[in-house]
Every structure is written in structure tokens, then in C-alpha cells.
Assembly symmetry: C2
Homo-oligomer: 770 residues x 2
């Protein structure tokens, strides 16, 4: 089962675990050739949720306040403190403005392209449907439809498989990881953005059960990561601006804004976007950052609104704040007694969502095991596409739900209906998913028969399950909403049948069903509630939406996790959970930490540094003072230096003592580090002569002189809170005399997962190489 | 200027600073007789924003994970881990449910009482207005009106002055302090709640320019603090439930829920409530806590909705989610070009808010200096009440704005208008403020003349400025909204006059003006935006509201801080700001910390402990190991013990070595600490015999063995983030050999305030006794 494999598509099908697990001291693994040579597990030993991959790096969110940094700040503070702070602040707001506007433009382009492409397709196919005369000729539009769809989805699939595998799926799991502090390789590159954006246009136009909303969040994040750096590594172009933002800390802050802008663009939900970023970022509430995130999402929603209003022919009407539009709910609200029914729907949504997740999990494991070759991936997409078209066609063909034509139907198909009528089934299947959602929410009572809804609901549920995880960009929101809206409307029709007076608004039930289904699949918490409230444009439904989402989450959580979390677990990402395992105060740092730790001396020889960097892949190295030995023990802890800094120091030959005792050639400045960010030179690519290896480097001006550290008595919850609140990567564990005895990284914490369902208690997860 | 003073009313007029500043080592000051003997500064030396008061304790948000705690957890973990976690979780949710429901009941009672009381008042006075025949007889209703108002506000004032001074004002500053980690004395007591709730009913009914919304947030918080503890110290009743929640950590978490419930009750804004708590609490986003806060605010909004719907005669119509109701905005939304006008209004709102704050600041300083005697406080309230009635009466009397009567007017006064008409001026002045807001928002175009609006706006602005800070419970939202709505509507009328076609919706401009004014006064950020959006019940106005609030905040911030912050600063509360001072990385722990630190040995003599507790008022004591001396230096840092723990140990005679070497009489358990919480026995009240003083206590099982500590190289921003994210009270500073060299507390950080307006740079604030 061993083979070389070029594709490291992540979190969305076709996934290959990292290899050569060498987490000896657990210090934030760094892989040079991640995913090139991959060991595949035999089928028996493969248990995806029981391992942690070593493919992912953590981000260095903690600011390295070393001597250089303090000197730079002190200079600024002495000279012109206000103008500098002011400049930096203006730059930050300006970048957020750019992020919002560019994300909005991308969203508008995607929307317009899909509108044009899908429009042409449906118009063309509809033309041939019109010409149908008997059961044979109706196969002409069927095959036309199918071939167009296959062509479209193939483009999307090719882009993902041969372009950038990480562009597959919705992108939300990857952004969750990024905001949590785990860097998924390639996730914020320009190439990913192009593949994602073009791919989603073709995937949606190709009629698959996918939405374009999730990918917008990914797109916004990539835009943010790109714009904020003022340079493009892919295009080898450095604009020499925003140099101060070239750190993991600033970059992640901007990506928060980008993700929020993406949510704002997708759902017209600027506040929901802010909450999404805060919830996933989960550092402490940083007021000025939150304002900037707010600004980005607001700008994005507004710009998109203007662009789409202009496109729709009503400039300045500002009626399209987001890509998805639930339309106007003009109902009279709800009655108190209906809340019980909503809760019931929440329960059903949770169950349905759990079923969805269970099926998709099995399918994903199957895909990881068997469907990983590029050709197979593309074939699978085509097969699903054929299945989608065939089932849609069959449903339309067999349906006899004819309705009088109104303006709200986008591509009315007459088919076997009388003149002036259209097929209600076709209105659902033969349309973009967004349009179908609106139809289910707003079509007036009686305009869709249960005989149309039942097959639609079942088919769409199945198709959505099959589709998520394919090698195409694919949002999960719309398919979930559609399936839920269908059964919700069915329920509404049933109630209306029982008592037409008490239950008049079937559209409301469709909305609640949609929320329940989405909540059951995603379990996405508080931001989701706000997103749905904003998308509904009507605050009256706030309370029912909240209740339904909480109920759905609780019911679903009995069986499995949310789909995003399932996919993150499937790929063994060392994600930090929301909280520490319960009742774990008796687990101490000494139990969690990795050891022994490789340390460096404050003044260290170049030879030893080179050797250490070459021989292991750790990322952070505690610096100790060998001359300050208390008693007979080792040196005391003085600071922390990370691999990328050492790489810059070696590359720039920042040697303090040459054998000929000349001074260092040039003073190393912060800009030397910033210019290399984020792709630092590998140790293999730095040439160090044997003579240079005899030199030494004084690490003290460069190391972080006060990294967070804890005593070995510190409890697991305490360590967890430090990591979560401050975005740590390394936490040094010291003994009573301030000597380094161990190191805790994100991976050490992630290993201590607590699985309440499996009664595992606090047992440690195996970290194996697969 | 020195005098004894019993009242320590806080943050809202009549404030007296703490005395005898003994912040020698800055370890979280604890005062035994706070506010009893007060030094008043001479007028020259009084500079309220330049000092820190020593009157406030910090809360111990950090969980003390000592040996007892770990043992208790480990026992539970071994026995029945799931049932225990489950029980605790269910209890937490149940408490939140109670908090939501009780807060809603209080809100409903307040609303109904005000409705009845103010209704009776207006009906009675209106009766006498009807009988007027000439200019003399019209003085009868005037004096009647005035005497009723004086009687009502006197009750409110008496309750505050002689009942509980901390019940004055809106309570939001105090809750901000509480959530930030500063305990304002008496703020969450039952007595405060009673005075606040009864007081607000009388103050609002008494016709002052106050709202009942802010006090609801305070009320919710008190309810939360009370319910979660399962006992009442005031009533000496221990229900023996919720013992696990008797720590500062759990209590603050519940108070977050209570504050959110209060916001939900006040504005019908459950999401805004959650955001308010998160924003002010500002620890990192704790997912399960956030859900519970959400649940509390949702429950509260729903319960209040049911109660008020029932009271209004439409059970289950669920149309009153909050006390304030902006009514239905049925306008067509807004046009893109109007956004520029909104921004302009934001600028104006910022300026008007800054003016409001500047006047109120001067007034508050004046009050602190001169109006602090109980009698003066009550007299001042009565004077303002007379002024309010007189100005209102004059405006009504001089106005000639007659409008045909419609249903929407609550207490129509005919006055000098023709039959079937009412005085529009009276509709604004002769009504509860909530009703006036609705009138300004929704009265149809032309129903209020500019000649009515201009005096109303000016008078109300002035009255609101004068009223906030009086010795009565007084919300700030409604007065600000009213003043803003008035000038906003004026602006709308002006635009309508310019172009009736382009600007038809004057109510929208009233809304935007209200938001601008409120934003200018409070500068309350993201939660405020969401609160207003939810109160408006219409998401369409989200973007303009955001824009206006941001603009108003920016403009106002040029001149001064938000009013709540001004009042917090006036009382020298060591509040932690949103972020560290900019460019302060070169300020190190060594510069910030206080020293020398009083330490205890791991096994310490009772005599020394007693002496230390008696002779100083510090709260946290580092524990060092005297036998583990590295080299010739002092002992190494082993843990931290706080005053309340020592008090319990002494009281329970938890001595390890008696002179006669008998074992300790009884094992000390966590419940011993819980039963004393939150009012621990003072050291003076514990009798220690001379013989007992020779005993010793082993502090190791009780101390926190792994408190957060930093090296002296740690920068100010780093320390700040630790405090902010983890809610710290003490941070021990150690040297390279893990020996204690200093201590950083909240006060040490607050001293390093950075005032951008005054070009003060990073200079240290004097901490003086005033």
C-alpha cells in the first residue's frame, strides 16, 4: 500500500496522512517535503480519529519581543510616537478596507459568472425540452443536460486535482484550522484562490448539490493573507509595503478579517462574520481588532450590495447584501405554541444531521482508502454528476405537479403540464440551488405538492451526502438548507392539513427545517444563529432559530461531531478544542510535556546550530545560560528561539565571534526577518563552510527573552487556557530552579482529547506514523 | 475638608475616594473599613483622573488548583466521572434558566409598575388640564404635576441615599468593572437590587430624564450573583445547593449571564446581551460559557415577552421581547446616497455626545467636591425634578403645535388646541420617555413641527446632562436616544423640505440621530450596534447603524472618553483597558512590578501569619521554600496563597504541628472555604492564643502550586495580555533562579495608562491618597 503521491488535498476527500512521525519532543513539527512520500496504512490499522498528523505546522501567534523589536519600538517611541501609531493604525484599516472590497468583487464575479453560465445552460436545455414530442425525444434534452454538466464539473475537478488539491471542499475546515493556529499547507496561496473561485463557478453551474457560500469564506481569507503582506511569493513581487505585517500574528489578525468578510459576502451577515472569526480565533476579545474585522465585513457586504444592485439593474437599491438571499419573510411571525413544534423540528434536524454526518464519514474514510488516484477522483465527480442529472431528470419526468406560471419561477418548464402551467418539480430540480431555497421558503401555500417534496428531499439529502468530499470546491450550507427546507415545508403542509387556521405559513416551517438541518450537520454554534438571522432579514425569527439550532446541536452531538470537525479529525489536525478536558486538574505539565528538549546555549557555535537544525525537525529551541549554573544542575532558562530565526541568522552570517575575531559583517535587523517571511530558507539551502562552523552566534539579541513558561506542577486546564487565550506554539516547562525540563506544544495538548461518547476517559491517544 | 461620611456611593455622583493609600507592594488591596473615614482632597489638588483608588478589590478569577482541589476532582474522576460532569453541567444550565426567568419577572414588574404609576399620574394631571379656563387656573395642574413628581423622585432618592448608594446611576459602569475583574463594594447585594428596582420605578414615574434599561442590566447581574450562590448572606440563609459555584470564577461567569439577560430584557436583544458580556468580560471565548450566557438571555427575553404579552392582553402574541420597543419600521429602507448623510449625522452625534460628556464630567467633579451630604443629594434631585417639570410645562404652554388626535398618542392633552386635536409638544413632554421615543420614530411626516422639536431637543439634552449622576437609579440610553431622535427628526424634516421626493422617511432620520447621539455619549462599540439592530427589529438598518456608531465613536473619541468610562475614571477604578499601551514592549516586568514582596514559607508559624495579615492589607502572598536555597540567595518560589485562604486556615485551626505534637484536629476540606465565601472572617475577628501562635501551618496543600509567573524580562504588553485573557489578580515576577523579586497586580498595570490626548506618553500616574 505504499506509493508516492503528489497530491496532498486536505480535509475534503483524497486525503493522505503525513509520514515519518518524529514527534520525539513534540516541539511543533516542521516538514520539509510534506506529503511527497506517503505511507498509506493497511486497511486494518487505519483508524483516522486516533492519530495526529505531523504534516501541519502551528503559527507563531505570540509576538517575539526580542531586543531588536524593543529597540525598534523604543526608537519610534522617542521620535514620533503618535505619527507612527497613527500610520500603523491607518495602514491596518486601509488593508481591511482593501480586503473587504476585493472579497466583495470576487463574490460578485462568482455570482455573475454562475448566473450567466447556469442561465445559458438552463435556457439551452429548456429550449430542447420545449421541442419534446414523445418519450424518445425527451432523451435529447436529458443527454444535452448531462453532457453540459459533465463538461462543467470536469473543469472544476481538473482544477482541484491537478491545480491545487487544497481548494477542494468548502474551505471552512481549513480556515477554522488557520484561525485556531494550525497552518494547513498552501491554504492561503493565490493559486488556491484561483482554483477555488473558478472551480466553484463550474461546480455550481454544473448542477451539483453544492453551494458557493463556504468557498467565499476561504476566498476572503486568501485575499486577506495576500493583501496584508504587500508581496506575492508566487509572483515573486515585493511591493515593499506593509512590512510590519509580515508576522504570523498580524497575518492571522488580517485573515480573521478576511474570513469575516467572506461570511459577510456569502450571507450578507456582517455581524455573523465577526462572530465567526471571533469564535474560531478564540483569543481574548481584542477590541481594536474586532472593530477592524467589523469594518472589513461591513465594507464587503456594502460593496457587494452595490455591485449586485448595479448588475441587477437597480443601482443603489441595496437589496443584495449577500450572495444568498432568503427573500423577504412577510409572515405575521409565530405563536407561542409553535415553539414546541420548532423544538420537535430541532430534534429531527439533529437526527437527520447526525445521519448525514455518519454517512459522509464512512464515505470519506472509503475515499481516503480507495479513491485517491487523480483519475479516480475525476471519475468519481463525473459519476456523481451523472447520478445528479439522472435523478433530477427522473423526478421531473415522473412528477405530475403542475402549477400556473408566476413571475417568481426562473426557468419554467412546461413539460407534460398544460399551457400556462409549469412543472413544480422542475422548478426545484431545474434551477440553481439558491433559487430552489427561495422557492421552498416563499412559494405560496399549495404551490408545491407533497408528492414533489418527498422525492426531492430524499434525493437531495442523498446527493448532498455523496457530493461533500468530492474533488471540487463545494459549499455545504446550501445543500443542507435545501434538504431541510424540503422536509420543513413538508411538515408545514402536514400541519396545515391538520388545521389550516392555526398553521398557515408553510414557508416559515421551511425556514425552521432548513435551520434545523444545517444545525444538525454543522453544529456551528452562535455565529451560525446570527448568520441565519441576518440572512433572514427579520429579527422576529431570532428566537425560534436559536432554539432550533441549540436543539439540533444537542441531539446531533449525542451521535457524532459536526461535519467540519469530523473532516478535521479525519485529517488528524492538532486542533485545540473549545475547552480543556473536564476534571483534568490532576493532570500536570510533567505528564503532558515532551522531553528531553534540545536546548541551545546563549552563545552557541554555528556548527552545533547547523547540526541541530539538520538532524531534527523541531521548531522551537529553549536557550539556556550554561555559565549561570545553580549548584550542579544544568543552565537556567533564558529564552526561546525558533527555527526560522536561526535560519535567517545563519543565512546572513550573523556570527559574533569569527576565528579571526572580526566584528559581524552587518547588523541584523528586523527587516531581515520580515523580508524572508513566510517562506524561510531551509537549512539544506544555506551553505556553511567548515571554517564558519567554528564561529559562534550570540542568540540573546534575537531570542524571545520572556516566553511563557510554567512549572511542572501546572495543571492541564491551566496550560490549555494559556494556549487557547494567547495562541501559543511552545510552552516551556521548568523545574523549581528555572531549568528547562520539558516542552508542551499544541500536539501534546491535542493528544489529551477527551471523548465523552466512547468512555475513554483521559487515556492518551496514540500518535503514530501512518 | 475632612469629614466622616457613611455613604460610599459609587460611579454615579456623591463619590468619595478611598483613603490611606498603602499600595506598598501593590498586591491587590483589601480594605476593612472602606469609605468610613474619608480624606477629602483640597480643591486645588483634586485631579480625579490622575489617581487610583484603593477601595476596590479584584476578583480571584484564576481557579486555585491546589492539592485539595485536585484530590476532589480525582476522586470524582475515578468514581463516576460522567454523572458528576453531567450533574454540574445541568446545574449550570438550570441556574442560567433561573437567572433568565427571574430577571424577566423583575423587568416585567418594573414595566408594569411604571405603566400603572405613570399612567395614574398623567391621567390625574390631564384631568386638571382639561378644566383649565385661563392662565391662572392652568397653574393648578402645573403644581399638581410638580408635587407628584417631587414626591416620586424623593422616594427614589431616599432609597439611594439612605438605602444603598451604589444603586445610583445606571449600574452599567459597575457591571463593566465587575466583569473586568474589579469588585465594587455592595454592587451585587440583595439590598442594592431592591433599592435599584424600586428606585427606578419611582424615578421614571417621577418624570425625570432617565431610562429603566441600564438598571435592568444591573438587576440581572445581582440576580445572577444571588441565585448562583444558593445562599444569601444578607438573610443568613444557606440553601446548601450550588456549593461548587462559590468561587469568584463561577460567580463571575454567572454574572456574565445575568448581565446578558438584563440586556435582553431591556432591549429585547439576546444576541446583543451575549456580546455585551463577552466584550466587557473579555476573557477568551469560552464556548460552553457563551452558550449558557446565550441561553440565559434567550430565556429572559422569551419570559418577558410572554409576561408582557399577557399583561397587554395578547397572550402568546410575543410582540414585546424587551422593555423598550422601537416599534415597527415599515419604511422602504434607504438609498445609497443617504449613507453620506448618515455619516454626517454620525459626526454630529459624536460632537454632541462629546459635549454631553464634557458637561457631565464637569458636573460630576463639582458634585464630588461640593454635593456629597445626604441632604444636599436629595435636595439636588428635587431641584432637578422641579426644573424638569417647569421646563416641560413651559414648552407645552408656549407651544402652538396642534395635531388631529390619533390612536398612537398615549395621554393626549387638548390644551389650547381645537376639539379633536392635541398638543404635539405635550405628546413629547407629557409622556414616559419610551413613548416619546416611539412618537419621534413613527409619528407620520408633518405631525411634529420643528418649532416643537427644537426646544424639546435642547431642553432634553440639558436635562439628561444634569440628571445623569444624581442620587437616583437612572438609565442613560433612553435620554440619549430621545435627544438624538429629536435632532435626527429635525434633520429629516429639513431634508424633506429640501426634496420631498428623495427624503420621505423622517422617522428613519430620527432613528439614525438617536443612534448617533447614543454612540457619541456611550461609545459602546460592537454590542451597542447589535443591541440597536435587535431593538429596531429590522436588519435592513444594520449597515447605517454601524456606520453611524463608528463615526460617532471616532469623532467623540477625539475629545473625551465614553460617559461610562469617564465615570469609572472619576472613581479611580483600576480597570484594565482593551489593550496594552502602544509601543510599550520596552517596558519590562521589572519596571512595572511592586516590591519588596511579603512572602511566606511553605511551613509557616501561626504567629508570623497572624502578624502579616494584621499589619498589612495585601491579598496575595507568594510561598517560598526556605530549605531549597540555590546558592546563597533566598528560597525559591513554590506557590501563592491568598488572604481569604489564610483566614479560613486560622479560623479552623488547621495547624500541622502543635507544641504537644498532636495531629490536626480535623482535615480541612474545600467546603470549609466554600461555606465562608464570599465574606471571609477578618483577621481581627479570629482569636489566636499566644500558645497557638507557636504552632505552624503547612501551606502546601492549600496554596496554588502553579500560579502564573513571568520573568523580569517580560514586557508590559505580554503581562497585559496575561491579565486580560486569564482574569489574573496577582502575577509573581521571578528572577533567573525562580526566586520571587516582585509582584504585578491590576493596579500596577492601571497606573501605566496611556493618554493619547494629553501627549503624556508613558509617564507613570501618581497613586496618591486623596
Amino acid at each position: 500500500m505504499e506509493r508516492a503521491h503528489e497530491n496532498t488535498s486536505l480535509l475534503s476527500g483524497r486525503v493522505v496522512q503525513g509520514n515519518h512521525y518524529t514527534e520525539e519532543a513534540g516541539k511543533g513539527i516542521r516538514r520539509r517535503n510534506a506529503g511527497v512520500a506517503v505511507h498509506r496504512p493497511s486497511n486494518e490499522e487505519f483508524e483516522p480519529t486516533e492519530v495526529l498528523s505531523d504534516k501541519y505546522q502551528s503559527s507563531d501567534y505570540d509576538v517575539i519581543e526580542n531586543q531588536l523589536y524593543c529597540e525598534e519600538e523604543q526608537q519610534l517611541a522617542q521620535k514620533k510616537i503618535h505619527s507612527y501609531i497613527w500610520q500603523l493604525e491607518v495602514k491596518r484599516w486601509f488593508v481591511m478596507l482593501l480586503i473587504g472590497m476585493i472579497t466583495a468583487c470576487i463574490a460578485a464575479v462568482v455570482d455573475i459568472c454562475i448566473d450567466k453560465l447556469a442561465g445559458s445552460k438552463y435556457s439551452l436545455v429548456a429550449l430542447y425540452f420545449e421541442d419534446r414530442t414523445d418519450n424518445m425525444t425527451i432523451l435529447i434534452p436529458f443527454f444535452l443536460w448531462m453532457s453540459i454538466d459533465i463538461a462543467l464539473v470536469s473543469v472544476a475537478s481538473l482544477l482541484v486535482v491537478y491545480g491545487e488539491p487544497v481548494a477542494a471542499g468548502s474551505g471552512i475546515p481549513q480556515i477554522k484550522c488557520y484561525l485556531n493556529g494550525v497552518l494547513v499547507p498552501h491554504v492561503v496561496r493565490v493559486k488556491t484562490l484561483v482554483c477555488k473561485v473558478v472551480g466553484i463557478v463550474f461546480a455550481v453551474s454544473g448542477g451539483l448539490a453544492v453551494g458557493k457560500e463556504g468557498p467565499m469564506i476561504h476566498a476572503g481569507s486568501v485575499v486577506a493573507a495576500g493583501v496584508s503582506q504587500g508581496k506575492s511569493t508566487s509572483f515573486k513581487k515585493d511591493f515593499k509595503v506593509f512590512k510590519n505585517f509580515r508576522t504570523d500574528h498580524e497575518k492571522r489578525d488580517f485573515v480573521s478579517g478576511g474570513a469575516a468578510a467572506g461570511v459577510a459576502a456569502a450571507f450578507g451577515a456582517p455581524i455573523g462574520g465577526v462572530l465567526f472569526s471571533l469564535e474560531e480565533g478564540a483569543s481574548f476579545w481584542n477590541q481594536s481588532l474586532t472593530w477592524r474585522i467589523f469594518f472589513a465585513s461591513m465594507t464587503c457586504s456594502f460593496t457587494l450590495n452595490v455591485l449586485l444592485s448595479y448588475y441587477n439593474g437597480n443601482p443603489w437599491s441595496l437589496s443584495s447584501p449577500g450572495l444568498i438571499n432568503f427573500g423577504e419573510f412577510t409572515g405575521i411571525g409565530y405563536h407561542g405554541y409553535e415553539i414546541l413544534l420548532f423544538l420537535l423540528m430541532g430534534v429531527f434536524g439533529g437526527l437527520a444531521g447526525a445521519l448525514f454526518n455518519a454517512i459522509n464519514y464512512k464515505l470519506s474514510v472509503f475515499r481516503i482508502k480507495y479513491v485517491y488516484k487523480s483519475v479516480l477522483c475525476i471519475l468519481e465527480v463525473i459519476v456523481i454528476s451523472i447520478l445528479t442529472v439522472s435523478l433530477s431528470f427522473l423526478s421531473i419526468y415522473l412528477s405530475n405537479d403542475c402549477q400556473p406560471i408566476t413571475d417568481s419561477v426562473q426557468y419554467p418548464l412546461q413539460l407534460f403540464c398544460g399551457d400556462g402551467e409549469y412543472s413544480a418539480s422542475a422548478a426545484l430540480f431545474f434551477s440553481t440551488p439558491e433559487q430552489s431555497v427561495k422557492t421552498l421558503f416563499h412559494a405560496h401555500e399549495g404551490s408545491i405538492k407533497p408528492t414533489t417534496l418527498i422525492p426531492f428531499c430524499l434525493i437531495y439529502f442523498m446527493l448532498a451526502t455523496l457530493t461533500y468530499g468530492l474533488s471540487i470546491p463545494s459549499g455545504l450550507f446550501i445543500p443542507s438548507l435545501l434538504a431541510g427546507a424540503a422536509w420543513g415545508r413538508l411538515f408545514g403542509i402536514f400541519l396545515h392539513y391538520l388545521s389550516p387556521d392555526l398553521f398557515s405559513d408553510t414557508g416559515l416551517y421551511a425556514l425552521i427545517g432548513a435551520a434545523a438541518q444545517l444545525g444538525g450537520v454543522i453544529r456551528m454554534t452562535i455565529s451560525l444563529t446570527v448568520i441565519l438571522m441576518e440572512a433572514t432579514h427579520n429579527i422576529t425569527y431570532g428566537l425560534p432559530l436559536m432554539l432550533v439550532l441549540i436543539t439540533a446541536k444537542w441531539c446531533g452531538d449525542i451521535f457524532n461531531h459536526g461535519l467540519y470537525d469530523i473532516h478535521i479529525e479525519l485529517h488528524s489536525v492538532p486542533l485545540l478544542k473549545w475547552g480543556p478536558p473536564p476534571l483534568s486538574s490532576h493532570v500536570k505539565a510533567g505528564d503532558v510535556m515532551s522531553r528531553p528538549v534540545i536546548t541551545l546555549n546563549t552563545i552557541e557555535s554555528v556548527g552545533k546550530i547547523t547540526e541541530i537544525l539538520q538532524q531534527n525537525e523541531h521548531n522551537g529551541f529553549p536557550v539556556i545560560d550554561p555559565y549561570d549554573q545553580s549548584g550542579m544542575h544544568g543552565g537556567t532558562f533564558r529564552g526561546l528561539i525558533i527555527r526560522s530565526q536561526l535560519s535567517v541568522l545563519l543565512k546572513n552570517k550573523a556570527f559574533t565571534s569569527w576565528p579571526t575575531s572580526t566584528a559581524p559583517r552587518r547588523r541584523i535587523e528586523l527587516d531581515d526577518f520580515r523580508n524572508e517571511y513566510p517562506r524561510f530558507t531551509e537549512i539544506e539551502d544555506i551553505s556553511i563552510t567548515d571554517r564558519e562552523k567554528e564561529c559562534s552566534i550570540d542568540l540573546r539579541p534575537f531570542m524571545n527573552p520572556s516566553p511563557y513558561s510554567v512549572s511542572k506542577e501546572a495543571s492541564l486546564p491551566r496550560i490549555f487556557r494559556l494556549f487557547r487565550a494567547l495562541g501559543l506554539r511552545h510552552l516551556v516547562v521548568t523545574d523549581g530552579h528555572n531549568r528547562v525540563i520539558g516542552m508542551v506544544t499544541r500536539k501534546d495538548l491535542a493528544r489529551f482529547r477527551y471523548s465523552s461518547h466512547r468512555e475513554r476517559g483521559l487515556q492518551e491517544l496514540p500518535v503514530v506514523s501512518i
